[in-house]
Subunit: 144 residues, 2 copies
Amino acid sequence: MRTPAELTTAFRSLGLKVTPQRQLLFRLLHDNTTHPTAEALFEVASAQMPGISLRTVYQTLTDLAGMGELQSIAFGGGAIRFDPNVGQHHHQVCVSCDEITDVYVDGVDQLNVSLRNEPDAHSFATASTDIVFRGRCVRCADTV
Amino acid sequence: MRTPAELTTAFRSLGLKVTPQRQLLFRLLHDNTTHPTAEALFEVASAQMPGISLRTVYQTLTDLAGMGELQSIAFGGGAIRFDPNVGQHHHQVCVSCDEITDVYVDGVDQLNVSLRNEPDAHSFATASTDIVFRGRCVRCADTV
DNA sequence: ACCGTATTTGCATCTCATGCGAACTGCCAA
DNA sequence: TTGGCAGTTCGCATGAGATGCAAATACGGT
Ligand SMILES: [Mn+2]
Ligand SMILES: [Mn+2]
Ligand SMILES: [Zn+2]
Ligand SMILES: [Zn+2]
């Protein structure tokens, strides 16, 4: 997503207001690579702005996602994750500690897709491809 | 997953009982390619066995998944899907009608994965790779 | 057929997420 | 600078999906 300053301009030009709550979330999300849940973000936000409501966090996340500044991803096993990285990338998920890491993948366009009973060209119009690698991160690899 | 007959044997040998409810679900799931939710399966089961409970459907699905006869997948936007196809395969999801289709992909092992700031070998131990192609199925391609 | 153990089922409970509306406030216009 | 309207916040209610729990029931080995 864009910088807090750019988002401020973007929000104003859409007739949306730039509140202290939104500014805080802009800052907490910019360059955030942790793929936080709404609740996780709420915890961090609460530390800096006691009284901010979980409802407002959800609201702002939904707004930002609607504007294309965030993507929301369901990895399974709990809450939806929010990702300010909206560029082409994929994810590694540690099955032990749930850490989610951005990865960049070459060769996606070279994947050869086929249906079981129709080895020829199938007519599905793919708009996007999401790849999730599941396994163990470096830290969890050792600790059994 | 295996055939209803094979599952019957497998359940008995584990000290588990083969009830009419389970037999029905074995039948409804075997060779089922629709990736149903628990609720969807419950609807179909209810038509053939009025009175069967949603709780039993969840229970049996969980048991089968635990035995490795089913895999459960979170595609986002609602309930978990259950898939009796436990072989190596991936999915196409229609963003318009939510149809989920099994696809078989060549070239997964040739994917070149890298972290943004460390183009060299990263030490994530990948155990499995899940690919989801999102787009429009044949039927939804025309209708706008 | 009997009996012990697994199963079914209804209801309570839990998590994650969204609907709703009264009170509040950013921000544009006068 | 100030007034005021539209957009926001926030607490509470509600909803969807899923699991915990225990009394009643039924499978299946003997
Ligand atoms: Mn990411
Ligand atoms: Mn499948
Ligand atoms: Zn880890
Ligand atoms: Zn479709």
